[in-house]
Subunit: 134 residues, 4 copies
Amino acid sequence: MAKAVHHAQVRWSDPDQLGHVNHSRYLSYFEDARMELLSTSPSGLAGAPGDRGYIAARVAVDYRYPVEYRPGLLLRVETWASKLGTSSWTLSQEMYDGEDLVASCECVLVAYSYEGKKSRPLDPDERAFWSDYS
Amino acid sequence: MAKAVHHAQVRWSDPDQLGHVNHSRYLSYFEDARMELLSTSPSGLAGAPGDRGYIAARVAVDYRYPVEYRPGLLLRVETWASKLGTSSWTLSQEMYDGEDLVASCECVLVAYSYEGKKSRPLDPDERAFWSDYS
Amino acid sequence: MAKAVHHAQVRWSDPDQLGHVNHSRYLSYFEDARMELLSTSPSGLAGAPGDRGYIAARVAVDYRYPVEYRPGLLLRVETWASKLGTSSWTLSQEMYDGEDLVASCECVLVAYSYEGKKSRPLDPDERAFWSDYS
Amino acid sequence: MAKAVHHAQVRWSDPDQLGHVNHSRYLSYFEDARMELLSTSPSGLAGAPGDRGYIAARVAVDYRYPVEYRPGLLLRVETWASKLGTSSWTLSQEMYDGEDLVASCECVLVAYSYEGKKSRPLDPDERAFWSDYS
């Protein structure tokens, strides 16, 4: 199983007044990892022309370990497809600070036709792409 | 059952380039609703002195409806306690744009002793407070 | 001279680890005040269709007073036009926490034709609108 | 003259609905470049213990060129000291996308005693450090 790897840069203003990276920022790190992978997929980066859209229906994050800012800090995010349905799929993600698991994420994506304004079946090439990450 | 109500102000820069409020911003709206309620609880706002801490262990958001910026837009967030355990509790939340359900959220909070560096049982007054929102 | 008034909601995650609202968030508060006013102007909210665009060329902020989060905190932002040129104008802004001046801002806006890809003269109705705030 | 170099990672959610990186995000990129440099200075990263504090008194940004998100995009930020006074100094910064100048920034920093609650003269080793970047 292939996993996509992204390195997320932590910003000075990401921690909140408790000194830990605010939990909502984790979603941006996870999002950027997905976007980088999605941009290489047949459906392309969200918002690309055409009618192979997709939308995030659900995101769940488990927080394991508080992260503090330090200059140059990069968090490693690993992404893979943990479920592959007819018109939806689930990306699972883990984020690490060195060897420490910081948080894990599950994101349910739904293939969506902006023209038809409803969900659509995944195309064979989309399905093949995500199978490689399953 | 009492529900706490918070009104979240949507900012011009909250939507992303697809024109919809970015999914990570929803977590800030939900967080602010929780913080407002927590600040009136016996354990106080996170980061307050004393040893009645709590940490967010899990957040799950279901996205129902895309929100676009408009000047003056306020989203209504309702918060209540859906589970009440020995040392943890779950806050359920719903966010509305007028009558439309925009998103729902479940957040698992764990009572935590910063001195003992481990979870702690909820105190009776904390338990009583959350029972009123159950 | 008329001044437009906006109330900016401070979020729990706006302060950074020093406990003060991060300086970059001030720009979002000022921006939202401008956007609310611009949406009532003849040229409309940025991104509206047509060719009466405008772009921010320069923003300068003076920081006077550190702001801490408290539940329900709203900062009052006052906005007026301090200079009115042929194809650009300057909005001056002040932000208050109660009676305390928190920060002041100057933003230079340039009327811009997206079709012509260059600056354009302000139209008479645009000029009249901003004169009322001068 | 030495210049410090920082590479800022652009996030998917940094552009606003016009498709360009929101102007307030630039301040975070510039801030991170300063923080990285400040962390190597004798006064240390803001918020460090001791009484060699400093605060940002003024930030001015000139916007030259709109930036769009693309996966993997890093902006190069160069930072140097353009003025060195008794109790304050100015950091000038330029941000580049490849060879294109995206924005420039001037930030006035004031050496500040948190104990005395007033500005303080820069110490000789602080002055020497910033001279190397002048």
